[in-house]
Each structure stands twice: as C-alpha cells, then as structure tokens.
C-alpha cells in the first residue's frame, strides 16, 4: 500500500550503464510490469528498488521517504525470486514465518499469521514439509506466501513464473493478479514475456539498454507504441515493418502494421508468395514474402486453404498503420493525410 517514486536512478556495473537516470512513478495499489529483452536493466532496477544493489545516484522515494540507501529489510518490501529461494533446511511453516521470527515477534502471533497465509494459498496441508518435497507450483506458492506474511508495503516479483510449465504459468498469472487486487498491495513485476505483461499489468514499463522506452497501460502501449522497438516488442505475432516505397507512401521512413491489420486480398497492392501457414485453430497466420524480399505475417481465416508458393495480394488497413521516422520514433497518427493536402496546396 505504497507509492514508489524513482528520480534519476542510475546504476553502473563497471563500464556498463545498467540504469540510466530512471524517472518513474509506481502507483499505489497498481500492478506495474517491467518488460524488455534480457539484459535491458529491468531486473537491475527491481534489485535497486529492493535494496539488493546500491543506487549510484538518484532518489528512491517510498511513500515520500527517500530510501535509496536504506537496508533492504527496512524498506518494508517483499520479493519473490525467480528461483523461489526458499530456505531448503526449513519446513514450509518455518519458511513462511522466517521474517517474523528474525523480527522477534511472539510465537503465537507468528503461528497465527502463518496459518492465515497458508489457508489463503492452500498450503495448510503442506506446512510440515521441506521445499524439496514440494512441486514447482507449491514452491512458488510458498515463495509468495513468505512475501505475504510480512504484510509488505509492496511486492517485488522477479520473473516468478519462468520455471513453471505453460499451464501452471497461466493459472499462477491469474492467481497472483487476483491476490494483488484482493489485498490492494502495490506490485512490481519483472518479465521478458510480453504476453505476461499485457495480461497482468495496470501499467507497463518497457525497457531497453538501461532506459525506459515507454510507460503506459497495456492498451496504450499496444495501440500507440512510442517507437519501433516498443512496437516490435509488444504484441504477438510481432508487428510487420516495411521500408522503401511503401513507407514513403505514408511519408515515413518505416511503417509498421500488425498481422491482423493485413488481409489476404487479390485486390491488395502488395504482391507476395506464401511461404508457410501457421494454424492455431481459432486463427491462422500466413508467412509471406514480398516481391521486394521482405517477410511479412498476415492473419487469415482458419478456413482458408493456401499452399506454400501460392501468389497472394495483401491489403493494408490504413487506419492501423504505424509510422516511424528514420530514428525509429513514432510519427503522429494522421499527419500523412495533412501532408498530402499541404503538398497539394503548394
């Protein structure tokens, strides 16, 4: 139940700039997801917030108090690690109660709080087991429980689901989100999986090379990516990019168009050959190659029977064309039509 504010947070590892003057507000009770390719600095920033790494310069305000140089424990944050990091020599009960034990809380209080959290997470029958005797999903729940028992000001999650299989991951994704909403605790969640970011976040923060590329709600980022990197990173299958004459038509250096805004239509101006078709059941994706050599993906109806080598035309839905300048920055929507008119006036 806290707002976390980062002001100019910078961290270097030798010559490598892991966090470059990060300014960010992590809103109270919100679910903020840090997303980006590996090595982009998202985990480093989480560890800086947790206090596991020292901030070089900048301020870290938790509820208005600068905690940039406070010990991890005193920040009142709880963290769930990728590897779960359970204490292997302790039972589930001792794992859950560890923070309270080292804080010197009375035994009765520890037992009561552990019991309550165990019930909440369906761990009550496993309390006397050791981590080695638990399944991956159960260990994950113990790790979350250990964070919950402390009644932290905020949760920090470091890729907590990456060790689980796909089915369990989808289930835990939902569980974590439900728990966070019920308890109304601020959460920061690190992942490299854009689908996880889209489904869980109230606020997504996209990172690259130690910098923030864009902050926004999942739909804002999806609909109006700030640059070509974000456009390519968020959304699956990824956005198609085209340069050359097609981009020039839209007065841009590069244009981006998502597979669902590209339809197979003989009237389409883009002529291509089918390479493969991916059938997902509810929809299919056609991988095609343009005459100019570019590879594109277009969504098509699953009933469509196409064989590799077939010649097709592609129709773009101009309302959903994203335009980028030579540096990859997004150009405002609608400028294309204005420019066309201006050119006509001259």
């Amino acid at each position: 139940m806290s707002t976390i504010v980062l002001e100019g947070v910078t961290k270097r590892f030798g010559d490598h700039l892991a966090s470059d003057k990060i300014d960010l507000v992590i809103p109270n009770r919100g679910f903020t997801v840090f997303v980006g390719p590996s090595g982009c600095g998202k985990t480093t920033l989480l560890r800086l917030i947790a206090g596991l790494e020292d901030i070089d310069t900048g301020r870290l305000l938790i509820d208005g108090v600068d905690m940039a140089h406070t010990s991890p424990a005193a920040r009142g944050l709880a963290m769930v690690f990728q590897s779960y990091a359970l204490y292997p020599h302790m039972t589930v009960r001792a794992n859950l109660g560890f923070a309270l034990r080292v804080a010197g809380r009375p035994k009765a209080e520890i037992a009561e709080r552990v019991e309550r959290v165990a019930l909440m997470l369906n761990l009550n029958l496993l309390l006397d087991r050791r981590p080695a005797a638990l399944s991956g999903g159960q260990r994950q729940r113990v790790a979350i429980g250990r964070a919950l028992v402390r009644e932290p000001r905020a949760f920090l999650f470091d890729e907590p689901l990456s060790n689980l299989d796909a089915e369990l991951r989808a289930q835990m994704r939902f569980e974590i989100r439900r728990l966070q909403q019920e308890l109304g605790i601020t959460a920061v969640y690190v992942t490299h999986d854009q689908a996880e970011a889209m489904t869980m976040a109230d606020q997504i923060v996209v990172f690259r090379d130690g910098r923030i590329e864009q902050v926004g709600t999942p739909l804002e980022i999806y609909r109006a990516p700030a640059n070509q990197f974000v456009a390519g990173f968020i959304g699956s299958p990824r956005m198609n990019f085209l340069g050359g004459p097609f981009a020039l038509e839209h007065h841009a250096a590069t244009i981006g168009i998502r597979p669902q805004h590209l339809s197979l239509d003989p009237r389409g101006a883009l002529k291509a050959t089918v390479e493969t078709i991916e059938h997902l059941g509810s929809e299919s994706f056609a991988h095609v190659r343009l005459e100019s050599g570019e590879h594109l993906v277009a969504r098509c109806a699953p009933e469509l029977e196409l064989s590799p080598g077939a010649a097709v035309g592609l129709l773009t839905d101009d309302r959903f064309v994203h335009r980028f300048d030579a540096e990859g920055q997004a150009l405002p929507v609608g400028v294309a039509s204005i420019r066309t008119k201006a050119a006509a006036c001259i």
Binding site: A85, L86, R130, R146
Partner: protein
C-alpha cells in the same frame, strides 16, 4: 546385460585393488602391531600365522605418555581447526557472495603461501616463538597450524559457499535477517556438509602435521606425532612397538571420521532452487 556384468566385475575388482594398495601400509602396520619384535623383523614375513599378542600396546602405553600426547593432539588439531574455521568462514563468505576485482588474486595469493617449504621460515618462527614464550605450548602450535591450514579452509569453504544460491541469502536479507542471522540460521545449515568436510580435512592435516609439531614442542605440548617419533630412535627400530604406537595415533581420527561421515554425504541444498 552380460557385457555390463563383466565390466562391472572388472571395475569392482580394480576398485578393490586400488583400495587395498592405498590401505596396505596401514593394514600391514596393524598386523605388525600384534606381532612380537622377532616376528616383525623376520623375513620372509608371516602374514596371519603368528602368535598374536597385545604386548606391544602394553609396552607402548607404559613407556610413553600416550594420553598426554593424545590430549595435546586433540587440543592442537581441534583448536587449530576451530580457529581456521572461525576466520575462514567469514572470509570465504565475503569472497563468495561479495566478490571484487581482487578476489581471485587474493585466493591465488593465499594458496601460493602453501607452496613455500615450511622449513624456509623455521628459524624466524622458532626465534619468534622462543622470544614470545610460545615454544612447547599447544596454543602456539595450534596458532601456527591454523595459519597454515587457513588457505585450504578458505578455498574449500569458498567453493562450497559458491554452490549455495545467492538468492537464498538475498531473500533472508530482505526478510530482515541481520548479517549474523544470515550466516548462522541460513548459510551454516545449508553449508553444513561443506563445513564438516572442511573441518575434517584440516583437522586431519593438523593431526598428521609432523614438521612444526616436532620442531616446536618437546615435553609439555608433545602430540602423538612426537609420541610415535619417540619410538623410532632411541634404542634402534622396534617395528612392532612403532606399529602399535602408530595404530594408537590413528585411531582417534578414524573415530572422528566415522562420526563426520553422515554430514559429509548429506546434500541439504537439494530442492531449494529449481
């Protein structure tokens, strides 16, 4: 299936051969310790068909002060090992979990001190010990052996700690554990097998150490190495008695090794991290 059986028989036979080769001198000394001096010196030697006797043990116990030497050995080996662990654990912990650019160099430098022949520093150490009244004191020898074994202890603990996932210690830190709690409640139980094997190794090394113990002790602090040595020189070689003295010196380490065994093989960290 048959090929597998044959190969496993061969491997087992080879393993037994190797084990017997390594253990042969010990087993031979064990047999010799039950012979009379005459039989011990006879050639060709008798393997099992001789008059078994406990006389050598009786003579050895009566002649030398076995229990005083045993106590000194325990104090020296136990004290030096405890001291080496006390210094080695925090050192290895710091190097394993908070390495700096110089950590590797420090480790190599520590190891390099073991490449110096001890006799090279015998005179300075001897003079220093004489002036400080540490000659013939169990404490003095323990101190020296602790220093000598420290590099080995740090290396072993370092590689052991490196197998402990750092995230578990970070979790403890976030959970509010103090540095001492982190070391004692979290790290030590996880590293117990490593701590036990390190302790056992440096204990055995100190127990067997014969250069410093012989040179720096005379009467009061003489450990079992000096006890054995005492049987080798004065009246010529008495093989049977010497063997009995050796057996008596080895026995305590075997007992301690037996007790440590359970810890040595226990893998506690399993299941902590996926």
């Amino acid at each position: 299936m048959r090929a597998r059986n044959t190969s496993s028989i061969v491997v087992t036979a080879l393993a037994w051969c190797a084990a017997l080769t390594v253990a042969f001198p010990l087993l031979w000394a064990l047999l010799t310790s039950f012979k009379t001096e005459l039989e011990a010196a006879s050639f060709p030697p008798q393997f099992l068909r001789f008059a078994w006797t406990l006389d050598n043990y009786r003579v050895v116990m009566a002649d030398g002060d076995y229990f005083a030497s045993l106590r000194n050995s325990l104090v020296i080996a136990g004290g030096s090992s405890a001291l080496a662990l006390l210094l080695g654990v925090p050192a290895a912990w710091a190097m394993a979990f908070a390495p700096t650019a110089r950590t590797r160099g420090t480790l190599l430098w520590m190891l390099s001190t073991k490449m110096l022949p001890p006799v090279g520093v015998l005179i300075p150490v001897y003079l220093f010990y004489r002036d400080w009244g540490l000659l013939d004191s169990a404490f003095g020898v323990a101190l020296l052996l602790a220093a000598g074994n420290l590099p080995i202890a740090v290396w072993m603990l370092f590689s052991n700690f490196r197998d402990v996932p750092a995230e578990i210690l970070e979790a403890a830190r976030i959970d509010g554990a103090s540095m001492l709690q982190e070391l004692v409640i979290v790290l030590a139980p996880m590293a117990l097998p490593g701590l036990a094997s390190t302790f056992f190794l440096i204990f055995t090394l100190a127990w067997n150490e014969a250069f410093w113990t012989l040179n720096l002790t005379s009467v009061d602090a003489a450990p079992l190495t000096a006890f054995i040595a005492a049987f080798s020189s004065p009246q010529g070689l008495f093989w049977a008695r010497l063997s009995a003295a050796s057996m008596l010196s080895i026995a305590p380490v075997l007992v301690i090794g037996w007790f440590c065994q359970r810890q040595l093989v226990r893998g506690l960290t399993f299941g902590a991290v996926k």
